[in-house]
Symmetry: C2
Subunit: 151 residues, 2 copies
DNA sequence: GCCGTCGCACAAGAATCTTGCGTGAGAGGC
DNA sequence: GCCTCTCACGCAAGATTCTTGTGCGACGGC
């Protein structure tokens, strides 16, 4: 589906404040509240907006240890196998197959180092796994996680 | 600030649906709508909830190329310097200093390979940069970006 | 010129938010 | 034991927002 300029600006406002009133959004993009609501409904049902959520301070919620894990698999391993192995761990917050030496990169949130180690251990014990390489986050510098809306 | 069991369940509901009605949340956690609102207000003002937002399909919005970039800096480089250099690029969606050989890992969203290359190029031209190592995402497997709420 | 489509603003009833108020449970002092 | 203070809750009502039906104007095809 194609987004026009108005849709992009609406999404931009919602990225900043997902609870903005339709009237508030309308003021910023130059539409009436019902017009904004109809566009938002359309963006949701078309899949451009996949949901509404909250941003949470990870440390307050109990995730104080964070890291990236590169995984190296046997040559015959499919992305679907990796997904299956990785998706059952709620600590894995993001996972992607990638170019380069590693087969995939995982982003993991855990409550402490011990917990982090356990998760990596369990993933490393999958039959298709060859080895893993972990990098622990020292300090988070940027955390946008969504990107802004290009014009 | 300390979250009790009720707060955690409220945050859990909001992570799934950030626009859930206070009454709906109340039904799921066993509170009245006003009680939920007061707790959510408290979670927001205490910083446990840092904001409300939407989840967006990156491809629809125009971000179709994604990758991780490890950066290697001169020994004397501070995290603040890295932040300053990296924060001005909206394409950098997340950045952290890490343990291991690399000094930091960046997560980048771009509109295409050319765009991705330009961003990496600009970052690589910072005076403190020694080298970069990019890994392009082939297929996103998991995309939770928030983690669930531990008990 | 005419008609169909699309997207908008307006308006009113429905739903939700928001706030003040009274109550009950638990902690601590006397 | 009893008192009080605090805290979080539910209830209720006014304010705000949502939601949907309606009509209008712009645009494009016939």
């Amino acid at each position: 589906m194609q987004l026009d300029q108005l849709d992009r600006r609406i999404v931009g406002v919602l990225l900043e404040d997902g609870r903005a009133t339709f009237a508030q959004i309308g003021d910023r993009v130059g539409l009436s509240a019902p017009a904004v609501k109809r566009r938002v409904d359309r963006l949701v049902s078309s899949g451009a907006i996949t949901g509404f959520t909250v941003r949470v301070d990870p440390s307050v919620v109990g995730w104080s240890t964070e890291g990236y894990v590169e995984i190296y698999c046997r040559g015959s391993t499919s992305p679907a196998e990796i997904l299956k192995a990785v998706d059952k761990h709620p600590e894995v917050v993001s996972a992607s197959t990638v170019t380069g030496e590693a087969d995939a990169i995982l982003h993991i949130l855990a409550s402490d180092i011990r917990h982090f180690e356990q998760v990596v251990e369990r993933i490393a014990s999958e039959p298709f796994m060859v080895r893993t390489k972990s990098e622990l986050v020292l300090s988070p510098l940027v955390r946008r996680e969504q990107g802004s809306i290009p014009d």
